[in-house]
Amino acid sequence: MKKLIYHYPFFNVLIKELAIEKRRKQTLLVVIPICFAVLLIFPLIIEGRSFVSSEIIGTYHIVLSITLCLLFATRSSDNNFEIRRANKLGDITASEHFLGKTIAEITILFPALVIFDYLTIALTNHPIQSTIIEYIIFTLLFSICICSISIYVNFISDFDTKLIQILVLSTIFIPLGLIMTPIWLGVSPELTSIYMLMFFGVTLVLLGFSWITNIKRY
């Protein structure tokens, strides 16, 4: 591990971020339980019964995934100045910081989404309509997009209230959630491939945009 950190300094940031998450346990003990509660209550509000019909499962999943991602993205505030000051003391460059931070966020969000989807399948009795490989690729791309946007918004903005942050983030997360629908609705393999390719392009654009603007602003 020592050699790994020495040769690849972003591992230092990655380990730090994971250690902070391990200590705070926000995603595991706050975000997922809240979404689990919403998962149980949502069908009662929408349909007046503990059952989700197949017509609304796509919408249901999008809304709950976005809720999870919003809670995840706003779980802690990054203080721009404090990050720069700590990195200055630790000789961490901007690119090392953002690479480590992005990988750490994906490492936390991806399993959270998988756990949440597993709970959705178990509680709604609606299995995913795609192969496991497609599901993993879609969820991974979705995690990368969410983390890129979340880090970008946290880093460049000094929003006083979480409400404004949630409003900004939700407008970006909703279209991203829409691209996730094929895994729940079951479209033809050709259409799934087109969606996947489109999602890959969107991910590259968002990751590149977040990366460049963060480093410029740093």
């Binding site: 950190i5 020495y6 730090k16 250690a19 902070i20 200590r23 200055k88 003391l89 000789d91």
Partner: protein, 198 residues
């Protein structure tokens, strides 16, 4: 020729329209000890943050050459440590994994009297203890330029001795120390330059 030097001319620092440092010029070569003093809001912290490269306000300068072969480190008036991590994890992070083992971390922490607190969370420690951990990191890093922003705040007599040790060691190894303080008394040191920001 010395590798460590600070050459700043006609520096103006401001937040918005209010410039608190106007046309300041500094020309220094290592080894040097500088004292920056002034009242609250005179711009001591901002000047030190500018030299360290983390000042966030508006900068207007004619020329700025800062050379430091082993880097510039700032001990800010608020700690730079990560509050959610333990002392040992902080040492591991700030030394880029070079002090990975607890034994190695304790050897460094012994120098600042903090070896018993390796597993404690930094957020739970007092301001003086946090400052001691930061001094331990500075001792390990041995930077060419050290900016100390009112370093004696929160520190007890032993803590002050450690800060003085850093100053002496940096000067001895051919570096520059910039020391900010509220009062203009020189104390135990002979300063090469004194900057009055009042």
């Amino acid at each position: 020729m010395s590798e460590t030097k600070i050459n700043i001319s006609k520096l103006t620092l401001s937040y918005g329209k209010n410039a608190f440092i106007k046309n300041l010029s500094i020309d220094l070569e290592a080894p040097s000890l500088i004292k920056v003093y002034g009242n609250n809001g005179a711009g001591k912290t901002s000047l030190l943050r500018y030299i360290s490269g983390i000042f966030e306000g508006s900068i207007n300068e004619e020329d700025c050459i800062i050379e430091a072969s082993k880097g510039i480190k700032l001990m800010d008036n608020a700690p730079s440590l990560i509050e959610d991590l333990s002392v040992g994890e902080n040492i591991k992070f700030f030394t880029k994994g070079m002090l990975y083992e607890e034994k190695q971390q304790n050897e460094l922490l012994t120098k600042v009297g903090m070896d018993k607190f390796n597993r404690d969370i930094v957020g739970d420690l007092s301001s003086g203890m946090k400052k001691r951990i930061e001094t331990a990191i500075l001792i390990w890093k041995k930077p060419s330029i050290v900016c100390l922003d009112e370093p004696e705040n929160f520190l007890d007599k032993d803590g002050v001795k450690i800060v003085r040790h850093i100053i002496k060691e940096t000067i001895k190894s051919g570096g520059i120390v910039i020391y900010s303080s509220l009062d203009k008394e020189t104390g135990d040191f002979n300063y090469d330059l004194r900057i009055d920001l009042n």
